[in-house]
Amino acid sequence: MWQRIYALVLRHVYLHKRSLARNMEIVFWPVMGLLVWGFFTKYIERVALPGAGAFFLGSLILWEVLYRSQQAISYSITEEFWVGNVINLFISPISTLEIGAATCVMGLLKSTVTTVFLMLMAFVFYGFDLFDAGLLLIPYYGCLLVFGWAVGLLTMGMIFRFGRGAEALIWGVPFLLEPLSAVFYPADVLPRWLWWVSMCLPSTHVFEGMRAALAGKDAGPWDLPMAFLLNVPWLAAGGLYFSRMLARAREIGNLARQVVD
């Protein structure tokens, strides 16, 4: 089992060893994003909102954790479709669970690389240390990572079911989550009904909690436990949907066909 998971992870490590574009994805783009928003917040701090910097930068970095985790998972499968390797993969003695696990490991690796880079950059350019938020950062990070897995599994399921046409979803889904997760503002600015929706997302609780911690306030006692608890049904739903859609792809012949034509 471990050997097969290792094999799939190794396949992606080989890929990154040689592909500049893939490395840009996990390092270059996020860093550029950080620089733009970093300088922008510096400006905002000067003209209007002292103290906004930490708020923005912290949110920005944590958002990347979720985003990269989801992207890494969805891409690891889409990649196989692009190169016509789906059949080879699915006729090897690997189980659905192992494929899921290997992609989650990829999510962990990629989002960790991105986050470490961003934290370093934020420190160098803006003297911002995300660990100002304290050690709570670590469980919060874990929550975002796991939520990224759940959403990644959901998008991966859609790719199996709807084929390559669903590739747009890989990009689209995070943009749907971003406004609802209260990344850059407190959740209570949302209209009432949207607020309810946002409360169902583990990410909202993470961002609320982190903001409180960065502002030096006590986090709401419920933020972390809620994020943890909500992750359970989300991850279960993601895994279930993924395996259901994979089975469905086998029924309608999608698994075999997309490569051949």
Binding site: Q3, R4, Y6, A7, L8, L10, R11, Y14, L15, R18, S19, E79, E80, V83, G84, N85, I87, N88, L89, F90, I91, S92, P93, I94, S95, A247, R250, E251, I252, G253, L255, A256, V259, V260
Partner: protein, 256 residues
């Protein structure tokens, strides 16, 4: 007399997509050391049959047993003892030949990986390309890489879907020799599709012709030719493709 072991057995196998009966009522046995050709015009159901046997697509009628096991229940066990190659699949293009084979030998739990990889590269005569990036291979080299992958786990049954499409005559011959050799040395059984009737006559012990998802002729190449009163398999093929009258030919089909 000892009968050779049956490695693949189907009974009334069928699959319908939407309203298309891609395959129906297909019954055959494949025995150890046998090369069985699955022939027929485009869209006859050859690829679908192989995909059903590999569990890439689920069948909705009939029964399948591979190496005495039910491939839907004992999927991992079955898949670790068979393999598949086609000129129409590819492999991660950014990885080198060696890296790709290394990944697959890990997936198949191959012991002594380095040695095995060298051996299959040597067999298919692409050792010199082993540090090339897969995306840079010629289509003939890629086809052989696919075959190398398919040999990594010493499969007992090899499913080959047009494995020699795009090969030049010289390399196609190397591939045929390799397959013959594997059958002789290890009694590897093969289910083989091809549109090259010359190749089929050289390689296959028996053939089954499919048309519109259904069997229309079977037997040794000679039996089929005789039964349809044609001089060549090519002639049989054309008759079938154009819908001429056909009967199930021969009796060397091992039905039981």
């Amino acid at each position: 007399m000892k009968f050779p072991t049956t490695v693949v057995k189907t009974r009334e196998l069928g699959k319908t997509f939407d309203n298309i009966k891609a395959v129906y009522g297909l019954t055959f046995n494949l025995v150890q050391g046998e090369i069985l050709g699955l022939l027929g015009p485009n869209g006859a159901g050859k690829t679908t049959t192989i995909q059903l046997l590999l569990g890439l697509t689920t069948y909705d009628a009939g029964e399948v047993s591979i190496l005495g096991m039910d491939p839907t229940r004992q999927r991992r066990e079955v898949l670790s003892r068979v393999n598949f190659s086609s000129a129409y699949t590819s492999m991660p293009t950014n990885l080198t030949v060696w890296e790709n084979l290394n990944v697959f030998s890990l997936l198949y739990g191959v012991k002594n990986r380095k040695k095995k990889i060298e051996e299959v590269l040597e067999r298919l005569k692409i050792t010199e390309a082993r540090h090339k990036v897969t995306g840079m291979l010629s289509s003939g080299q890629l086809t052989r890489l696919n075959l190398c992958k398919a040999l990594l786990n010493d499969p007992e049954v090899l499913f080959l879907d047009e494995p020699t499409a795009s090969l030049d005559p010289d390399i196609a011959d190397v591939v045929r020799q390799t397959l013959q050799g594997l059958r002789r040395e290890r009694g590897m059984a093969m289910l083989y599709t091809s549109h090259n009737m010359y190749e089929v006559e050289e390689l296959c012990d028996r053939v089954i012709f499919l048309h519109h998802g259904h069997e229309v002729a079977r037997g040794t190449p000679d039996e089929v030719k005789l039964a349809m009163n044609e001089k060549s398999l090519e002639g049989v093929f054309v008759r079938i493709a154009r819908g001429g009258d056909v009967e199930t030919a021969g009796n060397g089909d091992g039905r039981n």
